[in-house]
């Protein structure tokens, strides 16, 4: 009797363990993010310059290459990149827990992420004199207590004129489904940006979004009205372009660089910038770095490198902080930091978000997937 029972339970139990172990190890489809978040060390050295090597948490691929060609090489600093695309916060937190900060700098960490680290005290504040100098070179809006902007982008509306009769003229009109019917796509991983654009649609002037406390309920009312028309929440820039190309959606709330690329490819697009959200990245120094002075000196060299920033922006289609660099470009108004463009954009309230991230992020996920 007992033996039978043991057998009855043991065989299925063994099968479950085996199946789960296989599921955990065998599925190539299962572990995409885990694999990509694992930083692969890519050493690259530039000519002589300073003393020690500066370690930069970077984005990998073409991004690191452009940074190396246009910022590192002219500076003469010895820089090594460690890739952690979109996982910089997790990496720095882990280094802090392990008790050893391995990175000196972070390249273009996304605004919301930078403010998360800043709130947790993991970023080195800029020395007062350097901050004043940087503000002189770049302009006040481009400099914070912990760094300056780089790789900045905006969210704009790209509307397929072949499919849509009346295209939205502003980003606020993206949320007006009655007057502007059509299938839509929106970013999956940018709750703060969506909240900011919904705020503008609900009546907050773009000049006030950076400091005004968002009315979350009101913003989600705006978002609720457009939810059924959003056919795709895109997870990557490539996906956002592909959705427009295949016609899966005809009105896309996408990154400016992607919208202009589709336009240049020959798509019949109308692009609305007014009321879009501005998302800066930041060059910043990690608190606990052994090379703080050198790291800040390297950052200063980037801020002052006008030609380098112009070439970098032309290659990457992301915006740069130095106004002189933007003037050199063929289509300067396409970049988020061009004064006329910047005036139309809503800067999110990052400080507020850093305090309310869990609340906003969870509500966003319920909105998107619920």
């Amino acid at each position: 009797m007992t033996r039978k029972l043991v057998r009855r339970v043991a065989a299925p139990a063994a099968a479950i363990v085996a199946a789960l172990a296989l599921g955990a190890c065998g599925s190539d489809d299962g572990g995409g993010t885990a694999a990509s978040s694992q930083p692969s060390t890519q050493a690259s050295t530039a000519g002589g310059g300073g003393g020690g090597t500066l370690v930069v948490g970077g984005w990998g691929g073409a991004y690191d290459k452009a940074t190396e060609n246009y910022y590192v090489e002219p500076s003469g600093f010895d820089v090594q990149f460690v890739d952690a695309p979109a996982a910089q916060v997790a990496q720095v937190q882990q280094q802090k827990r392990a008790g050893k900060i391995e990175w000196d700098l972070i390249d273009s960490i996304a605004g919301p992420d930078a403010w998360v680290l800043q709130t947790q005290g993991l970023l080195e504040p800029l020395p007062a004199d350097l901050k004043a100098e940087l503000e002189q070179t770049l302009g006040e809006g481009k400099v914070t207590d912990f760094g300056f902007t780089m790789g900045n982008l905006s969210y704009v509306v790209a509307c397929n004129k072949d499919k849509v009769k009346t295209c939205p003229k502003t980003v606020a009109e993206f949320f007006d489904v009655d007057r502007f019917p059509g299938t839509r796509e929106a970013p999956a991983g940018a709750p703060l940006m969506m909240l900011t654009m919904a705020e503008v649609a609900a009546g907050t002037p773009v000049a006030d979004t950076e400091t005004a406390e968002p009315d979350v309920d009101r913003a989600f009312d705006v978002l609720d009205k457009v939810r059924d028309s959003i056919k795709v929440f895109w997870e990557s820039g490539d996906q956002s372009e592909q959705v427009m190309r295949t016609g899966e959606a005809d009105i896309g709330l996408i990154w400016s660089g992607r919208a202009y690329r589709l336009l240049d490819e020959g798509m019949n697009l109308e692009i609305a910038v007014d009321g879009g959200a501005y998302e800066p990245g930041y060059w910043t120094v990690v608190k606990g770095s052994d090379n703080v002075d050198e790291a800040f000196a390297f950052m200063k060299s980037i801020a002052e490198n006008v030609d380098g920033q112009a070439k970098w922006a032309e290659e990457m289609a992301y915006s740069v902080p130095n106004p002189k660099a933007i003037e050199q470009l063929p289509n300067p108004e396409r970049l988020a930091d061009h004064p006329e463009t910047f005036a139309k954009l809503a800067v999110p309230n990052f400080e507020w978000y850093a305090q309310h991230a869990d609340e906003v992020n969870r509500r966003w996920q319920d909105y998107m997937k619920g």
């Binding site: 039978k4 057998r7 009855r8 339970v9 065989a11 299925p12 139990a13 099968a15 479950i16 199946a19 789960l20 172990a21 296989l22 599921g23 955990a24 190890c25 065998g26 599925s27 190539d28 489809d29 299962g30 572990g31 995409g32 993010t33 978040s37 979109a86 996982a87 916060v89 997790a90 937190q93 998360v116 970013p187 999956a188 991983g189 959003i230 056919k231 795709v232 929440f233 895109w234 997870e235 996906q239 592909q242 295949t246 016609g247 899966e248 991230a357 869990d358 992020n361 969870r362 996920q365 319920d366 998107m368 997937k369 619920g370």
Partner: protein
Amino acid sequence: MSQTATPAAAVPSPPSRRGGRRRWNPTVGNVRAFLMVLPLLALVVGLVLYPLVKLTIDSLTQDAGLGNYADVFASDATRKAMVTTLLASVVVTVITVTVGATLAWYLVTARSTLVKAVLWLAVLAPFWMGTVVKNYAIILLIANDGVLNDVLSALGLGRAQLLYTTGAVIMGIVYSMVPYAVFSLYGVFVGIDQSLLAAARSMGATRARALRTVLLPLAMPGIVASAALVFAISIGFYVTPVLLGGGQAPFMASVISSNIFGYYDYGFASAASVLLLLVAVVVLAAALLAVGRERLMRAVA
């Protein structure tokens, strides 16, 4: 299987003809057997058991502690993702095992070498392709301007949204999982004596009846094992829901991933992972116990 296996140790080995030399014996002593599986055991402990224990502890101690679980239950997105992931995995399992069993049966019984070669190629091709390639192939087929919609439109049925739906995700997972089902079921079917089917037919059973009353009971344990494998792998799919379902697709792997990498909410993510694992174990245990009991009753009868 257990009722047919005869423990080799119980069979008394005949005395060796050449006195001094011991005959080779396929069974291994307990100590040696333990030493032989030790490396595997170490791997399982290090790479499966330790992370699972750590994950469970983290889910109870990090961020909100026990409140992590309350947060997970309070989240519409996570509840919906849990239900969708499990239902979709059940649907995937049923389709995959049905298709896999059919293919495996033809692979065992087909006489034509050409047919076998073509079938094997069809089974192996998705197995050899990378995840992203597989998913993009499906995008090309079912996109708004894809082949399938072109056909629908030419037939005057208009274009339908096929991509970025739960159906598309299910299709993608099935495509990836069919080889797993075929491999495991091929082994099962090869081991079944086909003359039993011939005997059933000679006694007047129709082809369908012979398959149902002779083949199916013999293959059932293998089919259930194959289904358990497919189900366990399906619940963890991450890339396919993102590429074919979009960000709105409510699947647990993407909820967990975005809470780790997008929102740095480790407590929430680990609690969600533990719950997914628990639910999966319960579902699998229920399915296997049910079959275990049935097998036992058949053995008694």
